[in-house]
């Protein structure tokens, strides 16, 4: 605790860097994965290529990616850009698949109705298909958010500053307190991010917060009550 208070500025700085390196890929992933998923849905061949490629990319170990990317991007090896790009690739690879599932799970009746009412394809995607895929999209984002927060730490091995620095530094100096603080803050960060995503999802999907049609709720409640009673 003393160590924590004494180094609060240092730790806050690392937390900030950690956050940037995990949140930026998340945002970029949404921007890239949603159009890619739509592309995959419209054309089967393109879709097969996108899905295969994303599976392959996902199997590359993160450390290898961190070391390899500077050669490709021309960045310095300790630049956070490497981590951001690498995590964006992973996030896109995961998100394309779940967004595709989300778009394909939309009720065909709703889609037909949109066509019948005279939506243009672009408008239909933006105002019907995309909003309806948000719940599945967020399920994917929550998984990726946790993965990102843990993966960012790996970057510390090659010298990119993040909460992972506390692990490498603590290990190097045989100072368990520093490692414990690192673990604790990482956990808190993951939890807070998850809560933020849940809140955000609720905010942008108001239709899911409403009670279902009258008649169905009391029945369900009655069944539950019966089970509890039995």
């Amino acid at each position: 605790m003393e160590w924590f208070l004494a180094n609060i500025d240092f730790i806050a700085g690392l937390t900030g860097q950690h956050l940037i390196q995990s949140v930026v890929p998340l945002v970029l992933a949404v921007v890239l994965a949603v159009p890619l998923a739509q592309l995959a849905r419209l054309n089967r061949t393109v879709g097969a290529v996108i899905l295969t490629l994303s599976s392959i990319l996902y199997t590359i170990p993160s450390l290898a990616m961190f070391v390899f990317l500077p050669l490709l991007l021309g960045t310095s090896i300790i630049s956070p850009v490497n981590v951001i790009v690498a995590l964006t690739i992973y996030a896109v690879a995961l998100l394309v698949r779940s967004t595709l599932d989300a778009l394909e799970s939309i009720d065909d009746g709703v889609r037909q109705a949109a066509v019948a009412m005279g939506f243009t394809p672009v408008r239909r995607f933006l105002t019907v298909d995309f909003p309806l895929s948000i719940p599945v999209l967020f399920a994917g984002l929550r998984v990726i958010s946790v993965t990102n927060i843990s993966l960012v730490s790996v970057g510390a091995l090659i010298g990119v500053s993040s909460l992972g620095t506390l692990f490498t530094d603590g290990l190097f100096r045989s100072f368990p307190t520093e490692i414990a603080v690192g673990i604790l803050i990482t956990l808190v960060l993951a939890l807070v991010m998850d809560l933020v995503l849940v809140a955000l999802e609720r905010l942008v999907t108001p239709w899911r917060r409403q009670a279902p049609a009258k008649g169905s709720t009391p029945e369900t409640v009655a069944v539950e009550a019966y089970r509890v009673g039995a």
Partner: protein, 389 residues
């Protein structure tokens, strides 16, 4: 078919049909033909029902009218204009569309769902919502439902919202694809009556797809019966289809009780109403309140029928719960079908006739109704020598 169309248009200021299908064929890539060289004139301001078994191409036919399906050959004209020349999304916005599953947008409120097409046409949100809340009332829904989401409505309410949405931009044409087949029979009848009520004011050109011949004859001004493979089997008024099916297929599709169903088109005005003995339910417990005819009708204080009292079991019937249940009711002025059903379904053989408030006015007898039917048949046979069967 051709002669009827031309005689009709000569009578009514030579109006062009609203929708004309000209030798339309739809063959799917697998080689399967859904619609085969179909020509059909769809009257302006009337309900035209496309009916047939599954696989007869009725939905495909309807979807070629708004270009959700493009014909392989042939042309579809709307208001005399070939729709292939129009932008598909614009064309669709000029036609309301109601489908079987309501197809409402789950992420939009009822009001915004109804406002969809006006919004696509660039109407400001506020104006579109004002119009939408007016339409809620038109289709018989409470204004406060407007703020709900579709999942919070019952199936019948969702279908009503679907109709309101189709009407929102006030299109001259409504396409309805089995809109009432997913709701229970009671709600379906309500929705059918509602549609006919609305249509009396709106006079839209409605194309209605169903597999239910009863629904077709209730709603249609004209009915097109389609056979498997999208071949037109008969196109006529519902009465004519029931009275004189053009082929064995049509006769078979219309069903075994088509003669009975045809009675729906015969006015029951001439049915004689006999007096009937009644007893008030409150007096059932009084042993001195005797009944003198073999069957006496028990009524409540308002004169509405409650059930029957057979004379030989009078002593066993002490309260409303002991009554023999009655059959269907014949409202004065209903069709012969209703009159006959009332007589046949009553345990006493006496059909209960009621007035518009549901008060008993007397009884009708099956024998007399059958005589009326026979008289009508004979006179029609004389007037229409070659079609009477």
């Amino acid at each position: 078919m051709t002669t009827e169309t031309s005689s009709r248009s000569m009578g009514g200021a030579a109006r062009r049909p609203m929708i004309e299908l000209r030798g339309v064929t739809k063959t799917y890539p697998g080689g399967q033909t859904a619609v085969n060289n179909l020509s059909l004139d769809i009257d302006r301001g009337a309900i035209t029902v496309l009916v047939g078994p599954s696989g007869c191409g009725k939905t495909t036919t309807m979807r070629m009218i708004n270009r959700m399906v493009e014909p392989t050959s042939g042309a579809v004209l709307v208001d005399g204009e070939d729709i292939a020349d129009r932008k598909a999304s614009d064309l669709r916005r000029s036609m309301g569309y109601v489908m079987q599953s309501s197809g409402l947008m789950p992420h939009r409120t009822v009001l915004d769902n109804i406002a969809t097409v006006p919004r696509l046409n660039g109407v400001p949100r506020k104006d579109a919502r004002t119009r939408a809340s007016e339409l809620l009332e038109v289709v018989g829904l409470a204004p406060d439902l407007g703020r709900r989401y579709p999942a919070q409505l019952s199936g019948g309410q969702q279908q009503r919202v679907g109709v309101a949405r189709a009407l929102a931009a006030d299109p001259p044409i409504l396409l309805m694809d089995e809109p009432f087949s997913a709701v229970d029979p009671v709600v379906r009848q309500e929705l059918q009556e509602e549609l006919l009520r609305l249509q009396r004011d709106m006079a839209k050109t409605i194309v209605f797809v169903t597999h239910d011949i009863d629904e077709a004859t209730i709603l249609g001004d004209k009915v097109a019966v389609l056979n498997i493979g999208g071949v037109l089997a008969q196109y006529a008024t519902p009465e004519e289809i029931l009275r004189a099916p053009a082929s064995d297929f049509v006769a078979g599709f219309v069903g075994r009780d088509r003669g009975f169903r045809h009675l729906s088109f015969q006015e029951g005005e001439g049915v004689r109403i006999h007096s009937i003995q009644t007893i008030e339910v409150d007096r059932l417990g009084d042993p001195d309140a005797a009944v003198t005819s073999p069957w006496t009708l028990a009524v409540d204080a308002g004169g509405r029928p409650q059930g029957w009292v057979p004379q030989n079991r009078r002593s066993a019937i002490r309260s409303a719960g002991d009554l023999v249940p009655g059959g269907s009711l014949y409202r004065r002025g209903d069709t012969l079908r209703r009159a006959l059903d009332a007589a046949l379904s009553a345990p006493s053989g006496l059909g209960v006739a009621v007035d518009d408030e549901g008060r008993v006015v007397g009884s009708v007898r099956a024998g007399e109704i059958l005589e009326l039917i026979e008289d009508a048949r004979v006179s029609r046979g004389r007037a229409n020598y070659n079609t009477a069967v």
